[in-house]
Amino acid sequence: MGLFDRRLLIVGGKGGTGKSSVAAAIAALSAFRNARTLLVAADGSPGAAGMFGPAPSSDALEVRPNLHVLQIDSQAALSEFVKLQLGPLGSVAGPVAGAFSFVADAAPGVSELLLVGKYAHEARSGDWDMVVVDAAASGHLLGELAAPGNVAEIAPIGRIANETGWMIELLGDPEITGVVNVTLAEEVPVAETLEFVDRLHTSTPARLAAVVVNRTRPQLYARSRRSELAELLTDRPKRLTKGANGLLDAVQIGLDRADVASEVDRRLRTDLPPGTEVLHLPEFGAGVDLQGEIREAIADELSL
């Protein structure tokens, strides 16, 4: 099952990992491969959807050939839903709609459900070959993906509950929906990714499709040169200047960091569910054609 064979990719990750850039690049790559693509910002800010120039709004906007962007927030999704349900009554029932919004907002899980429902709806509408979501940070995302199940449990009857069935089915079908977690090759982010995946699979119907290890770097030294270098670093030439000694210390730090990166990468490969795609992206400098470069790097990693 290839990443791009799915129809809904939900991209999450903790702050500081470059989640939005990765979501934007995945969407750009999808569009580039001639799939009609919708990129949805669902994190309360324009995020990925704002990276193509025009500010996204609640109406899909074409920003590149095949690529549309949309920003949704739970408040807007809620009023849209209420308006839809009230039909022609909507225009006269302002205060009632207001009161309902208030209660639905207070009712646990309902606003999350409508947010998920909005992008799940786009994925099943048939308008798009691919929907990519720049989702909330890990903790919130788990709450959102669990919302259809939670609401179905506490409000088993009613129109909202009726809507939960197809959502759970769509989110839970690994051939349609995949969660992408963006992380870094460092100890804490990787530990948090593994924790996230564990909770994703125990508390939500959605399944992990891929982990993107962002800002990785190639090994500084080939294995064959490591022992030679280690010798230089420990058995140092005499009468080195302070700066030259400091350089050797700094190189040692670089080697240690590279070791940590390979170690956590090994952990990811052994501890993630089998079949999870693990992509490595390099660090990209600012000011370049960022999405273009990340897009190509993702395509390379997936051998597309």
């Binding site: 009230l86 207001g98 009161a99």
Partner: protein, 371 residues
């Protein structure tokens, strides 16, 4: 103490903790706020007479294990301290904190049981807006009232806005005392217009959410009316303490322009409330090696091959490493520029370590430089 002095000064927890009993640590997610709070706790317990408490909410399991804590439980547990300092840590489980609160404030056990059994309530602690902030405040109230701690360090819950924490009591009060809810729960049923609107509302809610859900909601809000005034009173006092002279406020930031700009925004919001930031901890800066011009110079000599300090073969061997070092020196320079934006604030930088601290010794080492 006002951190805004004429030039940047070095921040130390020592002077800040002098005469303070509360330390609030704020910052966006992913900047290492919980690690910094734990490290501050380690050093404070070493230097202060009296017990220190670190209160944290749902941290990564990794940190809990670094502190030698069980993941489960709201009770403060003693942390094994390398120098015998008296340090306790508590990891808040918001769900259980809410239960405790309801039991304390409910008029009788039956009401408390009914609230806790209500399916709407069962979900609310996790998803209720600012529920975590609120649960933390109520827990804190007890810790302060116990008079047991010389210093309480509060690792604020991750949130879009660091100051939500201070507003939690007010928001809970507004939420439960809203006129809309009064109206929903029959508070204004005397009015004919109100009754008609309630009926329309009720039938709409029935259609959308199901009648069982609607009546659960009504029951929940009705029962909560008996509990909320007491809850709000207790936590408002704590929120006032947190903003008072006994409390210090630290921000934790990553060494990036974006993260430091968020600190700037926080300062403005604090200003509006008449609060001041006591200092900024910039976590994860490149270590001193990458700030040293002598190191950059030596690296440049290696990569250019001109007047290198090393033999020809060693120069060739070191070239990839030196390229890496030059790149990180560039990163360090960018970090220095970002940190310069904090001029006027007491600042402290914590270098990025190869391994993140994974036990009390690591946290103690990290804390050492913070006093």
């Amino acid at each position: 103490m006002n951190a805004r002095s004429s030039s940047a000064s070095r921040l130390g927890l020592g002077p800040i903790a002098e005469g303070r009993s509360l330390l609030v640590v704020a910052g966006a997610g992913g900047v290492g706020k919980t690690t910094v709070s734990a490290a501050l706790g380690m050093v404070a317990a070493d230097r202060l007479d009296g017990e220190v408490l670190v209160l944290t909410i749902d941290p990564a399991r990794r940190l809990a294990s670094a502190l030698g804590m069980e993941i489960d439980g709201n009770d403060a547990v003693r942390v094994p301290h390398p120098t015998g300092g008296r340090l306790s840590a508590a990891m808040l489980d918001p769900g259980r904190a809410w239960d405790a609160l309801v039991r304390q404030e409910a008029p009788d056990a039956t009401t408390a049981d009914r609230i806790i059994a209500n399916p709407v309530y069962r979900r609310i602690a996790d998803t209720f807006v600012h529920g975590n902030d609120y649960a933390a405040l109520s827990w804190l109230e007890e810790a302060i009232a116990s008079d047991r701690y010389r210093l309480i360090i509060v690792d604020t819950p991750p949130s879009q806005n660091a100051l939500d924490f201070f507003d939690a009591p007010q928001r809970v009060e507004e939420f439960f005392s809203s006129s809309l809810l009064n109206w929903l729960t029959g508070g204004q049923s005397g009015s004919i217009v109100g009754a008609a609107a309630t009926r329309t509302f009720g039938s709409l809610a029935d259609r959308l959410l199901g009648s069982q859900f609607f009546s659960d909601i009504v029951e929940f809000f009705t029962l909560m009316q008996t509990v909320v005034p007491g809850m709000v009173e207790r936590t408002s006092a704590v929120a006032a303490d947190l903003a008072g002279d006994d409390a210090a406020l630290l921000a934790v930031s990553a060494p990036s322009v974006a993260s430091i700009e968020r600190v700037g925004a926080l300062v403005e919001e604090l200003d509006e409330r008449g609060l001041t930031l006591d200092g900024v901890v910039v976590n994860g800066v490149e270590p001193p090696e990458f700030w040293d011009p002598g190191v950059a110079d030596a690296a440049e000599r290696v990569t250019s091959g001109e007047r290198s300090h090393f033999s020809q073969s060693n120069t060739a061997l070191l070239t990839p490493g030196a390229e890496y070092v030059l790149e990180r020196c560039g990163v360090a320079a960018a970090q220095a520029e970002a940190i310069a934006q904090l001029e006027g604030f007491a600042t402290l930088t914590i270098p990025r370590t190869v391994h993140s601290p994974s036990n009390v010794t690591g946290l103690a080492e990290l804390g050492e430089g913070l006093w």
